[in-house]
Every structure is written in structure tokens, then in C-alpha cells.
């Protein structure tokens, strides 16, 4: 596809040489989905370093019993900011980065449906993030935890400005997220290449479509709650004040109505990445792609009906609790289907253990552990034992780090050549992978046991003489250094490979979806010409003439 007469310049094979991308101004004013995608991802990695260092501070404080590395006031701000940063300023932009960069390329479109809205979403996110970090300079960061339960988050209990910044910043970011969600839905529904029916979109795009719906329907609940808490704090309304008829439980319902779909918002693009990486490096069609797509729809629906499992210890009575136990158990079934499908895709293939594939395989195990520990929270009596303990901390780090982060890093290794035109170093990548596997599991696995031994989450310190607490916390803290080191090595690899990586060419992995038809990096309009799509794997059809959808076995 290179060397056509349409080009007004000679084709380039390295991101740094793309003429349209020269100069800071081209990035600040861009409405190109590729530049915005890169900006999202780089911002996410920037905040990942900040969030990881805050996590490291938490581990340092908990390394020894009754220690005093930071004061309890600072500690409470740090774990609040760690959670908020990782969810809203790392997880969300990382997935939006992947989504806005890849979606148009994978469906054969020139850009997003609303390029300016796309740019708005990014800059509003960055503005919101900076506003929240500004709170450190304004007399104190928020300190009510990332889910900010009132009355603690009311001004009677936390009177500095941090909590106001928190609400405002998430509100602003939330508006941007809804805008991007709408944009993704419209793009996928209206801008697909000729012949690409919804049944033929790559699984990644399908997951992003579902993600768009999740964002559009769940974030408004958070935004509404944020306005209420902000009004409570600044205009003396009483939405969450029980002494005059308000209800602290109301916040919990609003927050988790957003908060649980949010978990799926974060993990769906990771699943999408895995669903591209595993087939390509197994040299096989994704097993049961139709069921995979259907199970994602099931999860999207169910995820709006499970939020109360975050409130099982709030004494809501048998019937309301039990309904949500049933839905929470049910959602495990479509999630399990995915794991089996990925395994079956590898079965009978010709596996290539690239760094992307290694991350995908580690993801499979870690995500399974995170999913199974999640079942423990659906079984309400076990939830009563384990909720709000370190078991929860272990659980969601297995899902969000072992699951989401591993899968998206897998995606970075896979798509880096497309974005930059160069391959990432596999040698550095393997070092990073093993350090990260040991660092991650070393840090978080023992937290399951800490929870069982009764250590509650969000404690600034713990007394001497609690059985096993000191030893396990020390163990976890030691490994957290390895985890952070592996993240830094990953970032180093990103930079090193940008200058020294092998030139990739359009399709270094011999993959089958449309983005690999474009140049690496893709030209401004992505494609000069898009072929008519006749199957899930258009590039397979181009190579072999037909058979992109494989053969059917009953």
C-alpha cells in the first residue's frame, strides 16, 4: 500500500519522521485520532509512575508494624490519590488511548466520527487530572478513599479543599469520558469499511463498542453523585446527611452503580487486546468468536445489576442482598467462557512466545485467580468475612494489574510497531516480563492471606504481635520494589525501542485485522484504499483468497 501517487510526501516508516507530527503545536492542536491516542497513552504512563510511587509509599509505610514513614494524615491522602489516580487517570486514559487509536484503523475508517469531540475528551481529562493534583498545593489532597463515602467526605469531617477538588476533577473528567464513549459508539456503528458487518468487526472493536455503552450509561450516575456531594460541601445541601433526612447509603448506591460497570469498563479493552494477541501468536482463528461476543453483551447487561455486592455488609436485608448475589454469581459464567475460549484458541495452534504472548498467558492465570477470588464476594457469607479486608485489595489488584495492566502491556508490545514503525526490544521485554510476574504476584498474592488473618484495608499501621501480619507485609513490600522496577524497565523499553528498535514494516506479526494493512505508522488518512471485508480476518482473505472465518465444527 506504499508509494501511491496520492502521497504528497515520501512514505515514512518511523513515527518521529511523520511530517504532520512535527513540532509541539501539531500535538497540542491535533484532532487526529492517532495523535490523541498516543497522548492518552503517554499521559496514562506518566500518571502510572506517579500512582506506582504512591503505591510504593503505602508499601513502605506498611513494611514494619507501628512504623512512621509518613504521618497518618499523609498516608490517607496517598492511598486516596493512589486509587483515584490509578482508576481515573491511568486506567481510563490507557483504555481510551487504545480505543481511539485502534478503533478507526481496525474498522477501516479515516478517523473517529467526531474528531473535535475526541480532542475535547483528551484535554478535559488532562485538565481534570492536573486539577486534582493541584489540590496538594491548595492545602491537602482528598483523604476519603477513592469511593469517598459520606459522611466522611462531607465538610464536617474533611474540611480542607482536597475533597472539593476531587469531586470537581472527577466531574470534569467524567464529562470527557462520556463524550469519548459516545464518539466510540457512533464511530463503530457508522464508519465501518464496506462489507464489515457487526459480526465481522474484530473482537477488540466489539469490546470497545460494549465499553462505550458501559461508559455512557454508568458515568452519569457518578457525575450526578459528584454534583450532590459538591453541593453538600459548598452550598450546605443535605443529600447525604442522615441527621436531617439525607442518606449516606444513597451515595453508596450511586457510586457503585457507576463503580461496578467501571470495573468492566477497565477490563473490556484488555480482553479485546488478548482476543487479538492470542489468535495471532497461536496462528489460529479466535475460538468461538460468536459466543465470545455474546458473552461480552451478557456481561455488559449484568454489570449494571451487581453493584450492591459492594454493600453486602451494609445490612440491607435478605431479599435485596440475595438478588445481587445471584447476578454476581451469574456474571462469572460469561467471564469463564472467555477464559476457556482463549485456551481453546491456543489448543492446536503454533504458539510463538513473543513478549506480547507471554503477557497474555500470564494474564490468563492472574485474571483467573482474580475472577475466582471475585466469586468469594458473590457468595454473601464469604463476603461478610472478607470484604474491606486485604483480601479485597488482593482481589482487585489481580483483576486490574494482573488482568488489565498485563493485557494492555501485551497490547503495547503487539501494536507498538504499528504506532511507531519500530519493534520493541524482545530482550528487554522478557526481563521486564519476568520481573513483573514475580514482582506483581510477590506483592499481591500474600494479601489474600493477610485478609484471612484479619487485616482490614486502608489502615495506616498495625500493632506488633498480630499473627503473620508483620512477616507477610514485609514480604509484600519487598516485592513491590521489583514490581515498580519492572514498570520502569517497561517505560525504558518504550523509549529505547523508539530510537533503536528494528524497522517493523506494515505487518510484522503476519496478523489479520485491517490495521495491519495500513503503513506503520499509518498515513494521515490511515488507508489509501480499504478492501471489501468478507470475514473476521480480511488480511487472511487477501493472502489466501478466502477462509478468513475458518471451518466450522459441530
Amino acid at each position: 500500500m506504499t508509494g501511491g501517487t496520492i502521497h504528497t510526501h515520501k512514505p515514512v516508516n518511523w513515527l518521529a519522521e511523520v511530517p504532520e507530527y512535527q513540532g509541539i503545536l501539531s500535538w497540542l492542536t491535533s484532532i487526529d485520532h492517532k495523535q490523541l491516542g498516543i497522548l492518552y497513552i503517554l499521559s496514562a504512563f506518566g500518571f502510572l509512575v506517579v500512582g506506582a510511587l504512591m503505591g510504593l509509599t503505602i508499601r513502605l509505610q506498611l513494611m514494619f508494624p507501628m512504623s512512621h514513614v509518613v504521618s497518618q494524615e499523609v498516608y490517607n491522602q496517598i492511598f486516596t490519590m493512589h486509587g483515584t489516580t490509578m482508576v481515573f487517570f491511568v486506567g481510563m486514559p490507557l483504555l481510551f488511548g487504545f480505543a481511539v487509536y485502534l478503533t478507526p484503523l481496525m474498522i477501516g475508517a479515516r478517523d473517529m466520527a467526531f474528531p473535535r469531540l475526541n480532542s475535547f475528551g483528551y484535554w478535559v481529562y488532562l485538565f481534570g487530572a492536573i486539577m486534582l493534583f493541584f489540590s496538594f498545593l491548595s492545602g491537602g489532597a482528598p483523604a476519603a478513599g477513592w469511593f469517598a463515602y459520606p459522611p466522611l467526605s462531607e465538610k464536617g469531617y474533611l474540611f480542607n479543599n482536597g475533597q472539593n477538588y476531587w469531586a470537581l476533577s472527577l466531574f470534569v473528567t467524567g464529562i470527557g469520558s462520556v463524550a469519548t464513549g459516545v464518539n466510540l459508539i457512533v464511530t463503530i456503528l457508522t464508519m465501518r469499511a464496506p462489507g464489515m458487518t457487526l459480526k465481522r468487526v474484530p473482537l477488540f472493536v466489539w469490546m470497545i463498542l460494549m465499553d462505550g455503552f458501559l461508559v455512557v450509561f454508568s458515568l452519569p450516575a457518578l457525575n450526578a453523585a459528584l454534583v450532590m456531594i459538591l453541593f453538600d460541601r459548598t452550598l450546605n445541601t443535605k443529600f447525604f446527611d442522615a441527621t436531617v433526612g439525607g442518606s449516606p447509603l444513597l451515595w453508596q448506591h450511586f457510586f457503585w452503580f457507576f463503580g461496578h460497570p467501571e470495573v468492566y469498563i477497565l477490563i473490556l479493552p484488555g480482553w479485546g487486546a488478548i482476543s487479538e494477541v492470542i489468535p495471532v501468536f497461536s496462528r489460529k482463528l479466535l475460538f468461538g468468536a460468536g459466543v465470545m461476543a455474546a458473552s461480552t453483551v451478557a456481561i455488559t447487561f449484568l454489570s449494571f445489576g451487581v453493584w450492591v455486592h459492594h454493600m453486602f455488609a451494609a445490612g440491607l436485608g435478605f431479599a435485596p442482598l440475595y438478588i445481587f448475589a445471584v447476578t454476581s454469581l451469574l456474571i462469572a459464567v460469561p467471564t469463564g467462557i472467555k477464559v476457556w475460549s482463549w485456551l481453546a484458541t491456543m489448543w492446536g495452534g503454533k504458539l510463538r512466545f513473543t513478549v506480547a504472548m507471554l503477557h497474555a498467558m500470564a494474564f490468563l492465570i492472574q485474571f483467573t485467580i482474580g475472577g475466582l477470588s471475585g466469586v468469594a464476594f458473590a457468595v454473601i457469607p464469604l463476603d461478610w468475612q472478607l470484604t474491606d479486608s486485604y483480601f479485597v485489595v488482593a482481589h482487585f489488584h489481580y483483576v486490574l494489574v494482573g488482568g488489565m495492566l498485563f493485557s494492555l502491556i501485551s497490547g503495547v508490545y503487539y501494536w507498538y510497531p504499528k504506532v511507531t514503525g519500530r519493534m520493541m526490544s524482545e530482550t528487554l521485554g522478557k526481563w521486564q516480563f519476568w520481573l513483573m510476574v514475580f514482582g506483581f504476584n510477590g506483592t499481591f498474592f500474600v494479601m489474600h492471606i493477610l485478609g484471612v488473618l484479619g487485616m482490614p484495608r486502608r489502615v495506616w499501621t498495625y500493632p506488633l504481635g498480630m499473627p503473620g501480619w508483620a512477616e507477610l507485609n514485609f514480604f509484600s513490600s519487598c516485592w513491590s520494589f521489583v514490581l515498580v522496577a519492572s514498570m520502569l524497565l517497561f517505560l525504558y523499553n518504550l523509549v529505547w525501542s523508539f530510537y533503536h528498535g528494528k524497522i517493523a514494516g506494515p505487518n510484522p506479526w503476519n496478523a489479520w485485522t485491517l490495521e495491519w494493512l495500513a503503513d506503520s505508522p499509518p498515513i494521515g488518512e490511515n488507508f489509501e484504499r480499504v478492501p471489501v471485508v468478507r470475514s473476521r480476518r480480511p488480511l487472511w482473505d487477501l493472502q489466501f483468497g478466502s477462509g478468513g472465518d475458518g471451518e466450522h465444527h459441530a
Binding site: 478513599g145 463515602y149 477464559v339 495452534g349 490468563l364 468469594a376 464469604l382 468475612q385 470484604t387 489502615v459
Partner: protein
């Protein structure tokens, strides 16, 4: 403070009938989960061993299989069956452990405060703080309330935890089956001193419990020791009585801080952060912020002698 005479803290250290049911269900679920984890890991290892690209690969693509409906039905049906079983067991255990309360009067009312616990025994007319007693072998109904923010009450060996939410009283049954001292900590983040808002539960034989109740009901004798008499005067004239109550001392009837009527009977100060003795109490009063930064009790401007006298008075409240 290191509480050495406490029972092992683990959810598997079963100290209540309710936790016996929870632990049984826990082992069952854990076994299923471990089994699934092993199957997935085993399959992945098998795949890695069996299907790596051979050295002398000819570059051809393997067979392209779209799916297998029978297999897909199986791996949907088996998990469905597992979650159905878990769902039924969930309902049974929930109803056994926490049957509907109806209009029953609670035996113990627990009120969470930033950052201490108030315990009331409404049927027995007793109010105390931070350390409480339960008779072994008797199903006890708890009610949880909050005076400020959301807290969560979790004695680890009792298994369940329950939130204390303002304006939303909650209930929980505890039927202790062994005697001992059981620890816990507030489990819902509640602000500065969340981590040091400890729970100390003493489960004792019925007779011992009755004796404890008797002692709690008794009004402590008026101090006679000269230091304690001075201490009481200082206690009543300083701001102590703005927050604290001592039965039999009509100037000290405030209900904001912990009830100090029988403080000398307790093992710890500051909700489990210090051993209870005159020396620690004196230091605590002079500057509680050193032991519990952020605590609502202000630094009292007391000289050494004054603090000593008040400490002697309080330690006479047996």
C-alpha cells in the same frame, strides 16, 4: 499496643456458631476455586508444552477451527451448575447465620465513633467503651449504629462484619462457642485513626459475665485518697466533663467521649493503643495526639502533678 493474651486472629479460628457455617461454606467454595485454577493452569501448561512452534516449522498455518458448539455448551453449563449450587448454599447460610430480626430488642448496641466504640447493653442497663464482654453459648443480637461516619464492626474470629451507618441501624447475630479474648479492627475506612480503632471482645462463662455486669452496674465509690480527691476536682473543673461521663459524679454526665465510669477495669487506653496504667493515662491526658494523631481529644494543658492526680482518680474507678 501488643495485646499478648488474645486468641489467634484468623477467619478460620472459629469462635462463633455463625462462623462455623461461614467457614464450612468457605472451604467448599475454596476447594472449587482451587480446582478451577488448577484446571486452567494445567491446560495452559499443556498447551505451552504441546503446541510451541517446532524448530523446523514449514511456515504453514495450523487448522483454522471456528468453534465447537458441544464444547461451548459444556463450558457454559458446568459453571452454571457450580454457581447454582453456590447460590443455593448462599441463601441457606445467609438465613441460618442472620435470620430476620423482626422486632426483637438487641442484646448489645454498638455505636461507632471516630475512633472508638461505645457498647450498650439495653436489657441490662450497662454502658461501656472499647472492651466488651459476651457470655459463651448464648446467641446474642447486636445492633450497630454510628455517631458520625460509616464504620464497620469486625471481630475476626466471629467471621461476619457489619457496617455501622448513620441513620441506618443494622443487625447481626453472634453465638460465641469458645471463651477467650478476640480482636478486631474497624473495617470501613473512617478517617485519620481508622487503623487504630481496635475492637476487643472478651467471651467468658455466663457466671463471669454476670459478675462483670454487676460490677459495671455498681456506682464506683467516691475517692478518699487525697490525690484522687484532688484529681476528681480537677477532672470536674477542667474540660474533661465536657465530653466524659462517670456514674456517681453528677458533674460528669456528657456522652461525647467514652464513658469512664469503670475505666480502671479496662486493659487498654485509647481504643487499644496503650496499656491501661496510671503512668500511660497521665501521658495520654497530657498529649493524646502523640499516641493517636488526629484523635478528637485535645491536648490537655495539665502540669505533671495535675495529670498525675487525675490519673490516680480515674484509676480508682473500678
Amino acid at each position: 499496643m501488643d495485646i499478648k493474651n488474645a486468641d489467634f486472629t484468623s477467619i478460620f479460628n472459629v469462635a462463633s456458631l455463625q462462623n462455623r457455617h461461614l467457614v464450612d461454606l468457605h472451604w467448599f467454595t475454596l476447594a472449587i476455586c482451587v480446582l478451577i485454577a488448577f484446571v486452567v493452569t494445567g491446560l495452559l501448561i499443556a498447551v505451552i508444552a504441546k503446541f510451541r512452534t517446532p524448530e523446523n516449522d514449514d511456515g504453514s498455518e495450523p487448522r483454522q477451527i471456528q468453534g465447537n458448539i458441544r464444547l461451548e455448551i459444556i463450558w457454559t453449563a458446568i459453571p452454571l451448575l457450580i454457581v447454582t449450587v453456590l447460590g443455593v448454599l448462599t441463601a441457606i447460610v445467609m438465613l441460618v447465620v442472620n435470620p430476620p430480626v423482626g422486632n426483637k430488642q438487641p442484646d448489645v448496641v454498638v455505636i461507632g465513633h471516630q475512633w472508638w466504640w461505645e457498647y450498650r447493653y439495653p436489657k441490662l442497663g450497662v454502658t461501656t467503651a472499647n472492651e466488651f464482654y459476651l457470655p459463651v453459648g448464648k446467641n446474642t443480637l447486636f445492633e450497630f449504629r454510628s455517631a458520625d461516619v460509616v464504620h464497620s464492626f469486625w471481630v475476626i474470629a466471629f467471621g461476619q462484619k457489619m457496617d455501622a451507618i448513620p441513620g441506618h441501624p443494622t443487625n447481626m447475630w453472634v453465638h460465641p462457642i469458645k471463651t477467650g479474648k478476640f480482636l478486631g479492627t474497624c473495617s470501613e475506612y473512617c478517617g485519620a485513626q481508622h487503623g487504630l480503632m481496635r475492637i476487643i471482645a472478651n467471651v467468658v462463662p455466663q457466671e463471669e459475665f454476670d459478675t462483670w455486669i454487676e460490677k459495671q452496674r455498681a456506682v464506683p465509690e467516691q475517692p478518699t485518697d487525697p490525690a484522687a480527691v484532688r484529681g476528681k476536682e480537677l477532672f470536674n473543673s477542667a474540660t474533661c466533663v465536657e465530653c466524659h461521663r462517670v456514674a456517681g459524679n453528677e458533674d460528669a454526665q456528657a456522652l461525647i467521649g467514652p464513658d469512664l465510669t469503670h475505666i480502671a477495669q479496662r486493659e487498654t487506653l485509647g481504643t487499644g493503643v496503650l496499656a491501661n496504667n496510671t503512668e500511660n493515662l497521665k501521658k495520654w491526658m497530657q498529649n493524646p495526639q502523640t499516641f493517636k494523631p488526629g484523635v478528637n481529644m485535645p491536648k490537655m494543658r495539665l502540669t505533671d502533678e495535675e495529670a498525675q492526680d487525675i490519673a490516680v482518680y480515674l484509676e480508682s474507678l473500678k
